[in-house]
């Protein structure tokens, strides 16, 4: 075991499903007494936007996603529709929103916190979020689009933080 008690994460993805791992690890890391920094870059910037309601899952190009209905009789809930639905179906407008709604319902049924709740706990417990200035400019975001209390910086800042940390994950 090294003496460093720091952990850094790079959050690079912005779909609803991929928003979970960095926030779960960041909050748990800080709960376990670590100093945690999360560098949000590219689509990971979505995690820091004031409004998170647009986050979606994309079954398109994701054939491994188990798809079970969160309602109905038990036998029906047991069917995994994932491998049964041809991927091209997900091109149909509206189906992605349907899949997202089903995923949110499944998460709620399983007592999984929402992204909003997890992020709030992260901030409350002192996770340091760094928003990548370069991608903010590239995507045309304004600083006002983001929540309060985060830092705006670039790759060098991340590397400086990661220099003393011994747990660094790219997500």
């Amino acid at each position: 075991m090294s003496e460093s008690n720091e952990m850094t994460l790079i959050a690079s993805k912005g779909t609803l499903d991929w928003a979970y791992p960095p926030l779960i690890l960041a909050s748990t890391g800080i709960a376990m007494g670590k100093e945690v920094s999360v560098f949000c870059t590219f689509y990971g910037l979505n995690l820091l936007l004031k409004d998170l309601s647009h986050l979606r899952i994309s079954p398109q190009g994701n054939p491994d996603m188990p798809m079970k209905m969160p309602f109905g009789p038990k036998w029906f809930q047991g069917i995994n529709f994932g491998p049964k639905i041809p991927n091209i179906m997900w091109n149909i407008p509206g189906l992605e929103l349907f899949a997202t709604a089903m995923m949110k319902k499944t998460m709620k049924n399983n007592g999984i916190a929402t992204i909003e709740e997890l992020r709030e706990i992260c901030i409350e417990m002192g996770v340091k979020f760094i928003a990548c200035e370069m991608t903010i400019g590239m995507f045309g975001f304004a600083r006002e689009d983001f929540i309060e209390g985060i830092e705006f910086a670039g790759a060098a800042t991340y590397l400086d933080v990661a220099h003393t940390s011994n747990q660094d994950l790219f997500i």
């Binding site: 909050s27 399983n110 999984i112």
Partner: protein, 74 residues
């Protein structure tokens, strides 16, 4: 008797750990907390949590599908 009881039944990972951490922060050293949860991962997670932070996991028992932990703050 625990000084505090935290019921996290129905909540999944990582909420039981996060709420326990927040509850412990408001307690004094040597006080104990009883945590009840249904998250199957919690049985190993609370061992790791206590191990990392130096709290004492006094006991862990199962009651049906519920897992009960007694943790002493250090």
């Amino acid at each position: 008797m625990p000084h505090k009881t935290l019921d996290m039944c129905g909540y999944n990972c990582p909420m039981p750990i996060l709420k326990t951490k927040q509850a412990l922060a408001k307690m004094d050293i040597k006080e104990t907390i009883k945590v009840i949860c249904t998250d199957k991962g919690s049985k190993k997670d609370f061992v790791a949590f206590c191990n990392q932070l130096g709290h004492t996991l006094i006991s862990q028992e199962d009651e049906g599908d519920k897992f009960i932990f007694y943790i002493e703050k250090n």
